[in-house]
Amino acid sequence: MLAEIFTNWALPVLRVSTPLIFAALGGMWCERSGVIQIGLEGFMLVGSFFAAVTTLYFSNSYLGLLAGALAGALLSVLYGFSVLRFRANQIVAGTAVNLFALGVPPFLSKIWFDSTGSTPPIPGEAQLRFLPLILTGLTVAFSVFVYTRTKFGLRLRFAGEHPEALKSAGVSVAVKRWQGVLLSGILSGIAGATLSTYLSSSFIRNMSAGRGFIALAAVILGKWRPVQTVLACLLFGFTEQIQTRLQGVVLPGSEEPVPVQWIQILPYLITIVVLASAVGRSRAPKALGVVE
């Protein structure tokens, strides 16, 4: 019984939650530093594409993971330059990054593989098995530690909560925000990499499929705190798993398969309800989106 729950539910939920957890923690760091981050989706997409390509080329998925992180980081640098250096509106620039990222994989896959936006399958032996799970655990533990117990965490939080106080304490707000943006790029790049090299065995068109936005929803639901954010990711992972399990299932007494659409929209619906309730409003970092 216990073993069955583990193999049918606990492990699969953990598996599908990995990309969400990486991306959400990245988003949390970025928003904590005071920069709105709706570009997670784009970072994930380029991350998963380059991870797949690199894994294919070197037949090494560790390098693939690294390449995913790097690709996410590079795109986050573009975002960082736009919003931190050139003061572009963070929402507009985030949308731009997402559109841009939508175009990158098909454009390159045409050149490299002559395909319309997907990569050839990754050989089974190069696919990741347990590393992402372990990495998730380490990242969560490290994030919680950094968040509460380190100078870096404290200062980054102040950059989003009270930048003037940070400045008057002699710390550069811009540097903290750059670090937040970069962290979101790296972590969502890894999140993307797990999509193509761990949860499946190739990159397919528009692979992130809204997970970047679900991750953002988890950040909001988790009130911008690491543990709660991870819990929200697990909740969303759980709904995704229910969806998968119920796909095409016909319940007794019914003729049609169960409509999974209603479960699909749950994460988004929960987020709206939380936002609209009194609890959800006051918890965002005070200086989120406020440019110096």
């Binding site: 380190t150 100078k151 870096f152 102040f158 106080a165």
Partner: protein, 508 residues
Amino acid sequence: MNALEFRGVSKRFGSFYANRDLSFEVRAGSIHGLIGENGAGKSTAMKVLFGIHPADEGEILVGGKPVRIKSPVHAMKHGIGMVHQHFMLAGPETVLDNIILGHEPGFFGINREKARVTLRKISSDYGLSFDRWDSPVSELSVGEQQRVEILKLLYQRSEVLILDEPTAVLTPQEVKELFQNLRRLKDEGKTILLISHKLKEVLEFTDSVTVMRRGEGVGTKITSETNEDELAQMMVGRPVSFTYQGERKIFATAGGATRPVLAVKGLSVESSSEPVRDVSFEIRPGEILGIAGVQGNGQTTLLRYLTHPARFEGSSEGLILLKGKDASRFDPLSLRDAGVGLVPEDRLSEGLLLHQDLTENFLLGQHRDPRYGTRGFLNRGVVRTRVEEKIKEFDIRPPFTTVWTGRMSGGNQQKLVIARALDSNPDVLLIAHPTRGVDVGAIEKIHEAIMQERNRGKAVLLFSSELDELIDLSDRILVFYNGSVRATYARSEFDAWSMGRVMGGGEK
């Protein structure tokens, strides 16, 4: 020895001197007061000290040595720290983290135990009892938050502590505690610079005091050798720079010859920062009623209430009668229809659309006026003609309807705001700080416009932090203190000294 010295410091913005040849000394180990009305140049002096604005002339000495301070962080390194009016504290974070920010012990991780030990020692050394290190700042009272700010400065090893209007937000008990604490800090060798406009506390708690007016230092006194009258006189000064020379028409107001246009009866408005407590007054046609008082004593709340009573439903009591009718739950549009014109307190944030042209700004609040449009649509031709007339009448420059108001000078912006307020031919005018940040030429024009309305039989409620201005224009003046009217002056009784005293909490 002097902990701090200003030597002939001047700071100009354009042709306007915010500080002019300012000199004063602060003895080490003393409490020094820096007092003056709003706009006297106190905060500019502090910004110069903290390197936010570089001085144009003069020099600043710290511990006897001339220094060029480039930034607040740089000032901190010279041992100068400041408790701002708005605290530099993040509400959700703990007291400890707020204090140690930027100077956390430890290499990568924070050694909070070590910080706690240091802070315990500091708080016992300086007699600042405090033990809620792990509470979020937002759970602390305002007085406690202020103590956290002071602890932060001590943790950063500041020798000179500057407190900007520290009592503005405190209860009387907290004020007492604060000054006890400051005395202890002084006894331990710290230097304290207290910026204030409250005469009483300066007299009671400082060793010496420098008075500022219009950007200049009026003089420095040993506190024990001066008194309230002398300081008030120095603060509000006399020679008035602009006096209204025109007509002041006499209206028969005695014995109820005219009915009040606006009557406020027993008005109380809740507010965490500055409540209004049981205020009553009346204004009659052809009368300017001046509202005086040090900022934060209820005037702003009163004005906010009068411009939008509906917003205060549930947090206010009392009655306002507009030409005899109850207007206590009106919104701005119904007030306007009932004959009220408004010149708001802060024209930039409340009065103007800075990225829109004169015409769009002229329409603000008037966009539903039937003269300017019918059935939900604006008649832009009529509006434009009207604005062109107003430009001529008020000599607004540049004289084009298509100029963004954000590109105009303060004086011309204010002329537009006043022209707009007068356009509906209101019977009551609520005018706040009409000449704040306005150039000399425009001041005269604005004063004339206000007097002209008065002479036409309009009632004007005039809020101003410039006592000169109120004395010059008003027929009567109410002095606010602590949310209520502390004294009323008829024009024949006008006396700047006396008013200054009352503003500081003294007796008429």
